[in-house]
C-alpha cells in the first residue's frame, strides 16, 4: 500500500468579510496537519485570517471541454445585464 499522503486543496480568507479563495494545494496525512502545513506554505507573510482545506479527491469539477455547453447558453441572454435597458440619466442611478 502506498504511504503517499493525500492531496489537499487550500483555501485562504485573506481579510475579514471576504470569501475564502483557492490558493493551491499540498500533501498532508490528515486535515489537522493539512491546516498546519497550509499555514506554513501559504501564509508566511500573514496573508490570511482563516484556512479551509478540502481533500482534492472530494472535489468534483467540470471538465474544460464542457466549457461551451455549460456557459455559452448565457451569452445570448444580454437582457440579464443592467446595461441592456436604456434609462435616462435624469431619473437618477438605478
Amino acid at each position: 500500500m502506498s504511504s503517499e499522503w493525500p492531496l489537499w486543496e487550500v483555501f485562504i480568507r485573506g481579510q475579514h468579510g471576504l470569501n475564502h479563495r483557492h490558493v493551491g494545494s499540498l500533501h498532508a496525512p490528515d486535515a489537522e496537519l493539512a491546516i498546519k502545513h497550509a499555514r506554513d506554505v501559504y501564509t508566511r507573510r500573514n496573508e490570511g485570517v482563516s484556512i479551509w482545506v478540502v481533500k482534492s479527491a472530494d472535489i468534483s469539477a467540470s471538465s474544460p471541454s464542457e466549457k461551451g455547453p455549460l456557459f455559452e447558453p448565457s451569452n445570448d441572454k444580454v437582457y440579464r445585464h443592467p446595461t441592456f435597458y436604456d434609462i435616462p440619466d435624469e431619473v437618477g442611478h438605478m
Binding site: 441572454k77 437582457y79 440579464r80 443592467p82 441592456f84 435597458y85 435624469e90
Partner: protein, 328 residues
C-alpha cells in the same frame, strides 16, 4: 424591506457576559463574524429569523411575477421576466445557504414557512392584476429591496454580507427592466398610461410598508442595529426611497397617490403620508388579499415535488452502489 418585524433577542445590560462585551467590541470594530466563531445565542437566533425571512421573500416573491410569464406581451419581455424570476430563485438559495451556516437546516426553514411560523415580506400578498404591475413591481418593489439590501452588504455576519453583495450586483437589472416597462406604458396609448398609473396607485403604499413599521413602533431595531444586522432605521430607508422615487414618477408623467406629498426644503426631502399601518399588521397576520393563495402555492409546490426529490436521492444511491460494484 424584505425582512419586517424581525424579533430581536438581546439581553438586558445586567445580563451581559464578558463574551458578550468582547463580541460587541468586534462588531464595533467592523470585524465580520464567521460561522464557527462564538456568538451570542440571541444574535444567532435573530439572524436565522431575518435571513430566513429574507430568503422566503425571494422565493414567495417569484409568484406575483411568475403569474405573468405566460402572458408577457412579447417574446423578449417573456425572456426578461423569466430571467428575473430565475434570479429571485437564485437569491433565495444564496440566503438559505447563509442561514444554514447558523445551524438551521433547509427543511426546518421551509417547514416554518409552510406552517406560518416564519413570514415573508408583506408586499407579496398583493395581487399583480395587469402587465403594468410587472413594471411597477420591478421599479418600486425591487427599488425598495435595493434600498434595504445595499447597506446590508456591510452587515456583521460574513455569509449574509457576502450573499448580499452577490444579490445587489444582480438586482440592478431587476429595477431597470421594471422602469423600462413603466416608460413604455407611460408613453403608450392613454389606456396604457392609465394602466401604469393604476399600478402605481395600488403598489405605492404596499411598497412603503416594505420598510416595516414606523421607528416609534419598531421594537426590535435597537439591538439589531447594535449587532449590525440592521444598518438603518425603517423610517430612514423609507424617506430615502420616497426621495429617490418621486422624481422617477414625475419623469414618467405619473402621479404618486398621496395628496400630502410635498418637497420640504428644510429637511431636504419629501413630506409624505404614512401607509395604513392597520392594513400592514393585518396583512402580516395573514389576512392580506393573497396570503392564502401565496402560501398555498408554496406548500403545493413542496408537496408535489416530494416524489421528485425522493427519486433523485434513490437514483444517486443506485449510481453510488453501481460504482462500488464496479470498483470491486
Amino acid at each position: 424591506m424584505y425582512a419586517q418585524l424581525v424579533k430581536s433577542e438581546g439581553k438586558s445590560k445586567a445580563e451581559l457576559t464578558p463574551e458578550d462585551h468582547a463580541f460587541q467590541a468586534r462588531i464595533d470594530a467592523g470585524e465580520k463574524i464567521e460561522p464557527k466563531e462564538w456568538m451570542p445565542e440571541g444574535y444567532r437566533k435573530t439572524l436565522i429569523r431575518q435571513i430566513g425571512q429574507h430568503a422566503h421573500s425571494e422565493i414567495v416573491g417569484q409568484l406575483p411575477e411568475g403569474n405573468w410569464i405566460t402572458r408577457a406581451p412579447t417574446l423578449e419581455r417573456k425572456q426578461i421576466l423569466l430571467a428575473k424570476v430565475q434570479d429571485e430563485a437564485g437569491h433565495g438559495l444564496y440566503l438559505y445557504c447563509a442561514a444554514e451556516t447558523l445551524g438551521v437546516s433547509r427543511d426546518e426553514l421551509l417547514e416554518k414557512l409552510h406552517s406560518g411560523d416564519m413570514k415573508y415580506s408583506s408586499i407579496f400578498n398583493y395581487p399583480t392584476l395587469t402587465w403594468a404591475d410587472m413594471g411597477a413591481v420591478g421599479w418600486l418593489v425591487d427599488g425598495a429591496a435595493i434600498m434595504n439590501q445595499v447597506p446590508l452588504q456591510r452587515t456583521s455576519y460574513g455569509p449574509y454580507s457576502r450573499a448580499m453583495i452577490r444579490i445587489c450586483k444582480e438586482e440592478s437589472f431587476h429595477q431597470r427592466q421594471g422602469y423600462a416597462i413603466m416608460m413604455k406604458m407611460a408613453n403608450g396609448t392613454p389606456e396604457q398610461k392609465q394602466m401604469a398609473q393604476d399600478a402605481l396607485n395600488r403598489l405605492w403604499y404596499p411598497s412603503l410598508m416594505m420598510f416595516g413599521p414606523s421607528d416609534k413602533d419598531s421594537v426590535h431595531s435597537v439591538q439589531s442595529m447594535a449587532w449590525k444586522i440592521k444598518m438603518n432605521t425603517n423610517d430612514e430607508l423609507r424617506q430615502k426611497f420616497v426621495d429617490q422615487t418621486v422624481p422617477q414618477a414625475e419623469y414618467l408623467g405619473l402621479t404618486v397617490p398621496d395628496p400630502n406629498l410635498k418637497w420640504n426644503e428644510e429637511k431636504g426631502g419629501y413630506d409624505f403620508s404614512e401607509p395604513d399601518w392597520d392594513e400592514f399588521f393585518n396583512v402580516i397576520k395573514g389576512n392580506g388579499p393573497c396570503n392564502k393563495e401565496r402560501l398555498g402555492a408554496r406548500v403545493k409546490a413542496w408537496d408535489d415535488g416530494a416524489w421528485y426529490r425522493e427519486a433523485m436521492v434513490a437514483h444517486a444511491k443506485k449510481k453510488a452502489a453501481r460504482r462500488t460494484v464496479a470498483a470491486e
